[in-house]
Subunit: 551 residues, 2 copies
């Protein structure tokens, strides 16, 4: 499915604010009166410099992939030159595409991918692999002065083989989430990978960015589900062995997973599947405060429970959730029913509560056993059950939040997210530090909230959402202030520069500090080995300072 | 603990053959009459060429680590120049140390490790990191014409920090299994890593070789338990971030795990811990044949059961087990009690049965729930419970098997093991192919048996044991025939060249085929980045053919 050119998601679809008066009232009181932020009416309003590809190069590309599979028109070039981050949205709404790609090509096969890379290498043309284009970290925007082609993998989208004995499937990289899950489900399997971008993002993109999904606490991030893969790089290819585990040197899969297109193009992968769960059961719990919920999460994970969903909102996010949800389906209704007086008696105030959506899935007996073991832990940390509605509400709307970003933008409101992960001992301190850093960067009239969405026995992720009235004429600088403050705090805290969004160009300035000189040297060596001409997605992922020269 | 110089394990300890007459009778009938294979009486019988290190180099090393921490005497050089594989045993018993190291050094700190590497780099001296020295694949034997030092990490053996909140511990690489577990257990934690070499092997060695343990089906191989690590390489160091997961490029931990000393020296790691299990429960089951047991294992793993021990012997190994075990503690007694007639009625013949040792561990409730779910699966595939004794017998003797190798050697019997892993769809075919290849290489009077010891939802390991009467004067060539046949079969089948022993020098001839040119290029790039002079454990792990030159 192709997304609307000017924002997130399906054309004609928007975020239905469930309780508009209350919602916009809250926005006004917290962030200031919303405004109006116009956008250009169509792609025709965008002017681009002409494609820098020489006629000979274009002819060679057309020979490689076919006449119809190369586009150089402005509309296509504009759409494929930006991702779906906040900065991308601001710019496309203004009609600004400052770094346009010079052509979009659609190879049909792995051989055609190799042919395109060979032409690009021969002619020194940069190549940006493009799956669903949902990067929120500048992963698909050209970042080089060289002529650039965007290699769209849309046509490599087949499930090549499902092996029901080994519970694996070999799948082409360009397939999007829904097509993939539908085909696997038909054979009784799931990949269990549901990032918020699920409907529009591709398997290859997930692998290239070390994606995480909403059920990764059970199924593992994408790096745990790759059994083997194939990477085409300029001048060669690599195919890793299809084995469940090995002791035969460094794990080459883990070199390529997360490489964000800088080494080559992931063309297919054999993925580890799980059975479609017999039963999925989500329940909501309210904790007296975020730290109590974090302790409950930690204890569940360390006592080896395996929830599929463990999503704990901090107090501000919980409060916003209560405003968002409309009666009679939403959390507000549930709370109404539960009775504020009851919660108060149990030490939970709705102004400072922390909402947990907890889910287990799998075979009936396993799910039952997990709930039996989880409940005493939840109780011990003060968790109060608020029934199944919050889980249902979350499930219904779990792919919807990005649409809201565009609604807010229409009203002159900055809204974006960022995420990290750290060990449990540093968790609450990092949560507070990033929240405070972003709030300071955005000023008093801002809102910063967060949730824990991916838990491990040894730590967890933190996913921040931040909102502020846009500073007119300074929209991007304002956003950069918040991002910079967050990234610097994350680096200073020793946390993950990203847990599942990736690095792209947005987080690149911190990569040298994140990796250190030794890590930078490893990354430079890989880049040099696979792409010595630096034609593969240049300007992304790699540290910006040169690694320390050899002693 | 230091091992005996001429074989496996503690000085003065041997394998008490429980049923000697029956056992040696079987050996004679299957392999031919045992002989006598003498060994030299002491290390004094070994003559080595003088150390090739120049006086200046030795002086520099002594300045770096202290006068007493550098040894160049023949006895030390001999002991530290071989691992514990079959070929090593044959040679040390003859007094043959064809490739002696030139000095053994014992740094006390990470800084001293760096100082030794700096001296080595300056002088072009090769360095072999040495943990417990239990490599069975030639991992610690010098394999270069250059002067070589063996860097013994014995003195870097502290648990630096246990973080009870994050359930992690930061530990120096030279610590051996028992010291590590004792210290973690005291704080309520376990690393859950119990390779057969547990008593004598080191954390750093486990990480460097991608080790697997007897409970890795639950706890994961060592690569799953490393949160972060530190590697000293010539001219620098790398310290990975202590995060539970990240999306910030290739996983640098997974570059270093399995690097077998060719990139640098792993000096410490922060490891992911688990709680000491409340309950551990092992039971034995007999299946009518190996394939039925494999199906039961596959179904349990794919239905997301999490056994800690799942050890399934094929028919020949089961038969040998029955001979080994002495009444009244062993399996034989159990079977006696169960009554052959009962088994026969249920379709199990003792001549062709397959024994499963299955264990679950963790919290009481979780263990109970797992057994409840496992039992119908075991029944469906024809598994018959033979109670708890087989599990107890296995637990008691689980570190003993390597002692038997030496007993057999004393009697002129070749005994060795090798292992691999593959996906479930290829499992039985690979089992048969390797078994047949090794049996053909060794001739009629040989015994090849195997077990499944590490299971995953998507495949499993196969661990082969092979025995034959030694061919006098051709002991090593005979062994090489068997190894070559097995390795070639494994490569041809697309299976793991090793699942947990590693590559060392023994498996190196197959690495080019295993990795393919793209993989070889990645490995060469890493080597070049960290160790351009090739002083780190030269002659190990890396493919022997040069990778294809760049197009």
């Amino acid at each position: 499915m192709t997304m609307k050119w000017w924002g997130w998601g399906e054309e004609g679809r928007t975020f239905p604010v469930p309780n508009p008066e209350r919602f916009w009232g809250l926005v006004a009181s917290r962030l200031g009166e919303p405004g109006v932020s116009p956008r250009i009416e169509s792609l025709d309003a965008i002017a681009l410099p002409p494609s820098r590809l020489e006629g000979e190069t274009l002819a060679a590309l057309r020979r490689a992939v076919g006449e119809d599979a190369v586009a150089t028109d402005t509309a296509q070039r504009a759409v494929y030159s930006l991702g779906k981050g906040y900065r991308d949205a601001v710019r496309i709404r203004r009609g600004e595409v400052p770094h346009p790609t010079d052509a979009v090509v659609w190879p049909q096969t792995e051989e055609e991918v190799a042919a395109v890379l060979a032409e690009a290498a021969r002619r020194g043309v940069a190549v940006i692999p493009f799956g669903g284009g949902t990067s929120v970290v500048g992963g698909v925007e050209p970042a080089t002065d060289r002529p650039t082609i965007t290699l769209h993998l849309q046509q490599l989208a087949r499930v090549l083989n499902v092996d029901p004995i080994s519970a694996t499937a070999t799948i082409e990289a360009g397939i999007l989430g829904p097509a993939l899950e539908t085909q696997l489900n038909a054979q009784g399997f799931t990949l269990g990978h549901f990032p918020q971008s699920f409907q529009f993002s591709s398997l290859g993109g997930w692998i290239a960015t070390r994606s995480g999904g909403q059920k990764s606490t059970l199924y593992g991030k994408i790096e745990e589900r790759v059994q083997s893969l194939r990477l085409a790089f300029p001048g060669g290819a690599i195919a890793t062995r299809e084995v469940p585990a090995a002791a035969a040197g460094p794990d080459l899969n883990q070199l390529i997973i997360g490489s964000e297109g800088i080494l080559g193009v992931i063309t297919q992968a054999t993925m580890r599947l799980a059975p479609v769960p017999q039963r999925t059961e989500l329940r909501g719990y309210l904790f007296p405060a975020f730290p109590a919920g974090v302790e409950a999460a930690r204890e569940m994970m360390q006592r080896e429970l395996t929830p599929s969903v463990l999503r704990l909102s901090d107090e501000p996010e919980t409060a916003i959730n209560l405003v968002f949800r409309s009666a009679p389906h939403g959390l507000a209704a549930v709370i109404e029913k539960a009775g504020g007086w009851y919660l108060t008696r149990r030490g939970v105030s709705l102004d400072s509560a922390s909402l947990l959506i907890l889910g287990f899935e799998g075979e009936e007996a396993a799910v039952r056993s997990q709930w039996q073991r989880a409940k005493p832990i939840l109780r011990r940390w003060g968790g109060i059950s608020v029934g199944k509605s919050p889980g249902r509400a979350w499930e219904r709307s779990r792919y919807e939040a990005p649409y809201l970003r565009d609604v807010l933008l229409d009203h002159g409101i900055l809204a974006d997210t960022l995420e990290t992960a750290t060990t449990w001992d540093r968790y609450l301190a990092l949560h507070a530090a990033v929240r405070d850093a972003v709030a300071t960067a955005l000023g008093d009239r801002s809102l910063v909230m967060a949730h824990l969405s991916h838990s491990y026995p040894h730590g967890g992720s933190i996913y921040f959402t931040f909102l502020a009235r846009q500073e007119e004429g300074q929209e991007i600088q304002q956003w950069e202030r918040a991002k910079n403050a967050a990234c610097q705090t994350i680096i200073d805290s020793g946390a993950a520069l990203s847990h599942h969004h990736g690095i792209g160009s947005d987080h690149r300035p911190w990569m040298a500090a994140y990796l250190g000189p030794g890590g930078a040297r490893a990354m430079a060596a890989l880049k040099q080995a696979f792409d010595p001409q630096d034609i593969m997605n240049p300007g992304k992922l790699t540290p910006m300072e040169e690694p320390t020269p050899r002693a």
